[in-house]
């Protein structure tokens, strides 16, 4: 009796709508015991909804002041032949390492084929998701961070190249002549940076979810930093040279990619949580299980 009265008092002090009268708010009633958690959860949900809205507004203001947003991959024919050939050549050793890494991963455990298919499918889905930007255009994430975390950075050099080839051939998105450059940025630099970030975040002792988020986000961002560098090397601006051009391309890419990189980070946290819940055996053979692969 006394206990119930005390609970009622606490409830009234927590539930704002009940302070106006004696009645409790609708959502309070089913939560007699978990009252506090319930209210904290609701607060978190509101904060979770308000924060992106606020950031999106900020992004809109920023974009309005800068202007246009560039394409995600380098378009067909938009690198001079010398640079196109150079980036293809730069990719070749990584393709060899990537092929060996894939063979090693499959030989180590045949069940890994399924997990590889999952990593490829994830990159496939994410690079098809053209997300709207407040500037009125769209761009897409890369999805290479997950594969890098599961299998180490090298396996993605093949998987990412396949995704890019599909998009170049069927969607006229990216290009065949720029495939080398786009592979280097998306399938090599992105995964390597993401993997390094994941490993250092774990070593520092950050929680798994934060490490996963940072890995996916920075794999995406570093891809576009590399793309900016590739464009800047090919198209140095006349007064400032490569560095000035790089800064300009970077600034433009950042507007498009920072919000997308954040969503990619969150999506990757969801998929890693699902993997941990649904297939703990598969996961135990990857980086998440603390065992070294490749």
């Amino acid at each position: 009796m006394g206990c119930a009265a005390l609970r009622g008092l606490i409830r009234r002090s927590y539930c704002r709508s009940s302070q106006r009268g004696d009645r409790l708010c609708f959502s309070c009633q089913p939560y007699e015991n978990g009252l506090r958690t319930h209210h904290i959860k609701r607060g978190l949900a509101i904060a979770g909804a308000a924060l992106p809205l606020a950031l999106a507004t900020a992004e809109r203001a920023l974009a309005a002041s800068v202007g246009r947003v560039p394409q995600m991959h380098i378009a067909e024919g938009f690198l001079p032949p010398f640079w196109a050939a150079l980036w293809f050549a730069a990719c070749v050793p990584f393709w060899v390492i990537g092929y060996r890494s894939l063979r090693h991963i499959v030989a180590q455990r045949s069940e890994n084929r399924l997990l590889l298919a999952l990593a490829a499918a994830y990159a496939f889905v994410l690079s098809s998701l053209k997300m709207p930007l407040v500037t009125g255009s769209s761009s897409h994430p890369t999805g290479t961070g997950l594969g890098a975390m599961l299998f180490g950075p090298w396996a993605m050099s093949i998987i990412g190249a396949i995704v890019l080839l599909f998009q170049a051939l069927l969607l006229a998105h990216g290009g065949l002549t720029t495939l080398g450059a786009n592979t280097f940025s998306m399938a090599i630099v992105g995964p390597v940076i993401g993997y390094a970030v994941f490993k250092s975040a774990r070593r520092v002792g950050l929680p798994m979810a934060i490490a996963v988020f940072l890995c996916a986000m920075l794999a995406d961002l570093s891809t576009y930093a590399m793309t900016s560098l590739q464009l800047a090397l090919a198209f140095p601006s006349t007064p400032g040279g490569v560095i000035a051009s790089f800064v300009r391309f970077c600034a433009l890419f950042a507007i498009a990619q920072v919000p997308i990189a954040i969503s990619e980070g969150m999506l990757t946290v969801i998929i890693v949580k699902a993997l941990k819940a649904q297939s703990p055996q598969d996961i135990s053979f990857t980086q998440f299980g603390g065992r070294e692969v490749a």
């Binding site: 992106p52 947003v69 067909e76 994830y122 496939f124 709207p132 407040v134 599909f166 006229a172």
Partner: protein, 106 residues
């Protein structure tokens, strides 16, 4: 990992992606032309030396992007469905507690 509830992450990402849709008044279309304009601005006189072998029209492009999403999602769904099914099959069956017969031994 389990500290942050999954539903909260899903809610956050949905809001994060949906917010620009609500805020955007006019859709300018793809960003390809804007990037090409930027290259032309930084390096006037550059002519692309290769054009796509084949380019889909906008409707077909939407279809093909949807096909890409569909193939990927199907594989993801297959993986998680398979894992879930296997776990349910291989999970040790729940043995009901043997009922205690108090009156058996005296």
């Amino acid at each position: 990992m389990s500290r942050i509830p999954t539903w909260l992450v899903i809610a956050a990402v949905v809001t994060w992606i949906a917010a620009p849709i609500l805020f955007t008044r006019s859709f300018k279309g793809g960003t390809d032309d804007q990037a090409k304009a930027l290259v032309a601005e930084v390096s006037p006189g550059y002519r692309p030396w290769f054009t796509p072998l084949w380019a889909p029209n906008p409707d077909t492009e939407t279809l093909l992007f949807a096909v890409q999403t569909g193939i990927g999602s199907a594989v993801l769904g297959y993986y998680f469905g398979l894992k879930r099914g296997r776990r349910q099959i291989t999970a040790p069956p729940v043995v009901p507690e043997p009922e205690a017969h108090e009156h058996v031994s005296d």
